[in-house]
């Protein structure tokens, strides 16, 4: 999140954010009002409302416990930065050994250094991963991650897991809608809270819908442009899981 004040006024760029913030982050405190707000709106339809963190945390733990009870290796598909650590923090009370994808592992050490306890974990090793709780990005499965483990159960953790079609598209056992983004209602609330004079909505497959709701709240907003110069809302929500992952990872880099 970036906040700029200058003689031209103040500007808040949200990047990807979420309210209430993940307990695996330091959170953020937005200014009480800004002149210009540039906000992400990835989940820009009223079908998206996240469940409270505790509910999701117990779903995550139950999934792992059920799988282990049935002698299956639980696998959580989640981005290496942020989501993976949030899940590990949820799982830490189980005190069961975890293994995280190689690219995510060094990031965990940073979390630990800043006082977040992520439980018992080590870096993924193919030959000894069976029976551990595994955490990896969705793309890893396609490149042989834990392919030696026959008996496993896979949970896809993402805001897109709201949509049932994802289960058969990705061939996973469970969908856990755990997101690092604002849900639709938190987005509207957030905009209202910082009461910007100018609002620009970006990274939205349905910017029109957000603009419609903001207009009803008396807030004028506009849609940001995507790379190809087309209003993103016109592209529609067409991505498969893969394409969506890409969008999110790009924005993650930007938001830091």
């Amino acid at each position: 999140m970036v906040y700029i004040e200058s003689e031209l006024g103040s500007l808040l760029y949200t990047g990807d954010c979420r309210t209430p913030p993940s307990p695996a982050t330091e959170g953020f405190s937005a200014p009480s009002s800004v002149d210009t707000l540039i906000t992400e709106a990835t989940f820009s339809l009223p079908i998206y409302r996240w469940e409270p963190h505790e509910v999701l945390a117990s779903r995550v733990r139950e999934f792992a416990e059920d799988a282990l009870r049935e002698d299956r290796t639980p696998v959580f598909l989640a981005y290496n930065l942020g989501k993976a650590q949030e899940i590990m923090q949820m799982l830490a009370p189980m005190d069961h050994p975890m293994m995280i994808h190689g690219a995510g592992f060094p990031l965990c050490e940073v979390y630990e250094r800043y006082g977040f306890s992520l439980g018992r974990y080590e870096t993924y090793r193919r030959e000894s991963c069976e029976g551990k709780i595994l955490i990896a990005p969705g793309s890893a499965l396609g490149s042989g991650f834990a392919s030696n483990v026959k008996r496993k159960r896979i949970a896809y953790c993402s805001g897109w897991a709201t949509l049932e079609a994802r289960q058969s598209q990705l061939t996973v056992d469970a969908l856990i809608p755990l997101s690092d983004h604002l849900d639709f209602y938190a987005l509207l609330e957030f905009v209202e809270q910082v009461s910007p004079k100018r609002t620009i909505v970006t990274h939205s497959p349905n910017a029109d819908v957000v603009l419609h709701y903001l207009a009803e709240m008396g807030i004028h907003a506009e849609a940001g442009l995507s790379e190809n110069g087309m209003n993103e809302s016109e592209l529609g929500n067409v991505g498969l899981g893969e394409a969506e992952v890409k969008v999110s990872e790009n924005t993650k880099k930007g938001s830091g």
Binding site: L163, D208, H212, M230, G236
Partner: protein, 655 residues
């Protein structure tokens, strides 16, 4: 999932959801069986199994809720306080399913939450609600009932309620056959007996009650109660097997397209003598017999010796539409029996195109003019009941022998069956038929079996002959198979010839439903009218296709569609011409209500022609030439070279 002791609609829906989330057929069956087992009351058992297996109403009732997606969307938008066009439609596009969108809106929107105070809905009450919706006559009334019912529902109930009203699949990966298994498991009965009971009752509800009360042995076949129909699966023949015909057999287009299943490898396949024919058939053709596939309407004929009754594939009584068939069959003085077969328009020994039969379908009491212009006859191909006994559980070869002898004795038309080279017994007509048949050459004129390659050659020859005769292709039936409800993988296979193919340009892409939710998976394809004085535009739509591509191709298409998108209408985007698709189809229908004047029957992707540009697309003039060619071609007489056993002809009639 928590335990639910009372069988409310909510507990049924949570079970369905659990079935959906469970992977593996036997695990799904266990979940369903555990629910059924808890039901103690006959009415509840009947209702629950009907809701799961048939929909809001029993299939036999013929009832339909008759509520469209738009009505549901409008009702849900009003209920959850959102704008239908601005908000519901894009939500539906993202989700890929109306029913799931409604579920999500109920759960997430403040209005949807506020207006609901869920309470238990007994299954009987739910059926009453379905009737209220069915009998409501206007859209407004239907919306009122929907909203009134939703007020007492959990989100998951609204989703399955909507799916049940479709009378189709609940989209939980659990079809009729699995429900039969679950019924058997719940009350510890023999699955074969359950299946039999369902065959003769045609009702999941009655079957389940019989299983519960341990009365399955009372399941009795009754004349004039239609039996469940056996259906064929696509034959999945590797490209090239059908030889010079040049076209791959048609991928059957079904809802929630899954593409063609890839066939397992086959051990011990011998190569063909020097030929490059693909031989990796997942089955041995010699286990099958072949019949020509007639371009007609599936029909089950019941008679008690006097009355004739005809049932369509959806088990509706269609007797009044076909008085000519009834008259003819009555003249034959048939004993009590049930025949499975095909209704076709039959003029001068030629089966006329399906379009002619359409003039007779759904028409009650056709006039004399229609009857003489489009005379319909019945071709029998299976025998399901005879001599006071159902015989559908007997092997095909036995049923066939009885059918042919009955046909000969009473003089009705029977399809001709050809052996594909296994032991000679089923190819009776090749040897004993009075019409000398070219297939003799292929069957080497002897009774012994031929090799695998011989069987493929016979298949190809029979297929080409079927096409020459104007028939759709072949039905392959396994010699030892019993007649069973639904699609029995590899018991019956259909080999169809595509009507042809056209290079078309993608004009619109539509976000799909179900499995392909959230992805553009349905496409409107157009042909070129650039040089056509009759049109202002460059392309006009000719068909909508939603199958025949691989997942990888679909991904590539979706990427390209993003680049070509120029306009957007709800779930649909308009495209600049840029993607050329070779479209394969079963036929061309004249349709004056469309811009082109024609629509394709069963269009599907044959190939995405990345190598072609829109300039290469076929034109409307090409389509017109194809249609004229087809109409001009005279189909060969059916009797000349043996697609039928013409027991109806005078010289055979008195045998």
């Amino acid at each position: 999932m928590e335990e639910h002791t009372s069988p409310t609609f909510f507990s049924l829906c949570t079970t369905l959801q659990q079935v959906r989330e469970t992977r593996g057929t036997s695990a799904k069956i266990s979940v369903c069986a555990a629910f059924l087992e808890r039901l103690q009351n006959v009415d509840e058992i009947r209702l629950a199994t009907e809701f799961i297996g048939e929909g809001a109403f029993p299939s036999k009732s013929g009832h339909r809720a008759a509520v469209g997606g738009r009505t549901i969307g409008l009702a849900a938008s009003e209920f959850s306080g959102i704008d239908y066009d601005l908000v519901f439609k894009p939500s539906r596009t993202a989700v890929g399913s109306t029913s799931e969108t409604v579920e999500k809106l109920m759960a997430a929107t403040p209005e949807g939450q506020k207006r609901r105070s869920p309470r238990p809905i007994p299954l009987g009450q739910m059926r009453a609600h379905f009737h209220e919706i069915r009998t409501a006559s206007t859209r407004e009334e239907k919306m009122d009932v929907l909203q009134r019912v939703w007020r007492h529902m959990q989100p998951v109930e609204s989703k399955y309620m909507i799916r049940m009203m479709g009378q189709g699949s609940l989209r939980i990966g659990f079809e009729g056959r699995s429900l039969i298994q679950a019924i058997a498991k719940a009350w510890n009965r023999d699955a074969e007996q359950v299946r039999y009971a369902h065959m003769v009752t045609g009702s999941m509800g009655e079957t389940a009650v019989m299983a519960f009360e341990d009365r399955l042995d009372e399941a009795q076949f009754r004349l004039f109660h239609p039996l469940a129909f056996m259906l064929a699966s696509p034959a999945d023949l590797p490209e090239g097997v059908l030889g010079d015909v040049g076209e791959l057999e048609g991928v059957e287009v079904t809802e929630g397209v899954e593409g063609v299943e890839v066939t397992e490898g086959l051990e011990g396949v011998e190569g063909l003598r020097g030929a490059e024919l693909p031989m990796d058939l997942p089955y041995d053709l010699r286990d099958y017999v072949a019949e020509e596939k007639f371009d007609g309407m599936r029909c089950q004929l019941h008679t008690d010796g006097q009355t004739i009754c005809l049932f369509s594939r959806d088990q509706n009584d269609v007797t009044v539409s076909f008085p000519d068939v009834c008259d003819e069959m009555q003249e034959r003085v048939l004993p009590p029996m049930v025949l499975d077969g095909e209704l076709v328009v039959f003029v001068e020994d030629r089966i006329q195109p399906f379009q002619m039969l359409q003039k007779r379908m759904g028409r009650k009491k056709p006039g004399a003019g229609t009857l003489s212009k489009f005379p319909v006859r019945f071709i029998a191909y299976d025998l399901l009941y005879h001599d006071g006994q159902p015989c559908f559980h007997r092997p095909l070869e036995e049923r066939r022998a009885m059918l042919e002898s009955l046909g000969r004795r009473h003089g009705f038309m029977v399809s001709r069956q050809y052996s594909l080279g296994g032991d000679g017994s089923a190819s009776t007509r090749i040897k004993s038929g009075r019409e000398v048949d070219r297939s003799d050459e292929v069957s080497m004129g002897r009774e012994g079996s031929v090799g695998r390659e011989g069987s493929v050659e016979m298949l190809r020859m029979l297929f080409q002959r079927a096409l020459e005769r104007g028939n759709e292709g072949l039905m392959l039936k396994k010699r030892d198979s019993v007649y069973e409800y639904g699609q029995r993988r590899r018991s019956w296979l259909k080999v169809k010839q595509p009507g042809g193919s056209l290079d078309t340009v993608m004009m619109y892409a539509h976000a799909g439903s179900g499995k392909r939710g959230g992805t553009f998976s349905d496409f409107t394809l157009g042909i070129s009218v650039r040089e056509d004085d009759r049109y202002e535009e460059e392309f006009v739509p000719i068909g909508k296709a939603y199958g025949g591509y691989t997942d990888e191709e679909l991904r590539m298409l979706n990427r390209r569609i993003k680049e070509l998108t120029v306009e957007r209408y709800g779930p649909t985007v308009g495209l600049r011409p840029g993607i050329v698709v070779e479209l394969e189809f079963d036929g061309i229908q004249i349709n004056p209500r469309t811009k082109a004047g024609y629509t394709l029957r069963f269009p599907r992707f044959r190939a995405i022609r990345w190598d072609l540009s829109p300039d290469d697309a076929d034109t409307l003039a090409d389509v017109e030439r194809l249609v004229e060619g087809k109409l001009a071609r005279t189909p060969l007489m059916q009797r000349e070279d043996g697609s039928l056993l013409r027991f109806d002809l005078a010289e055979d009639g008195d045998l």
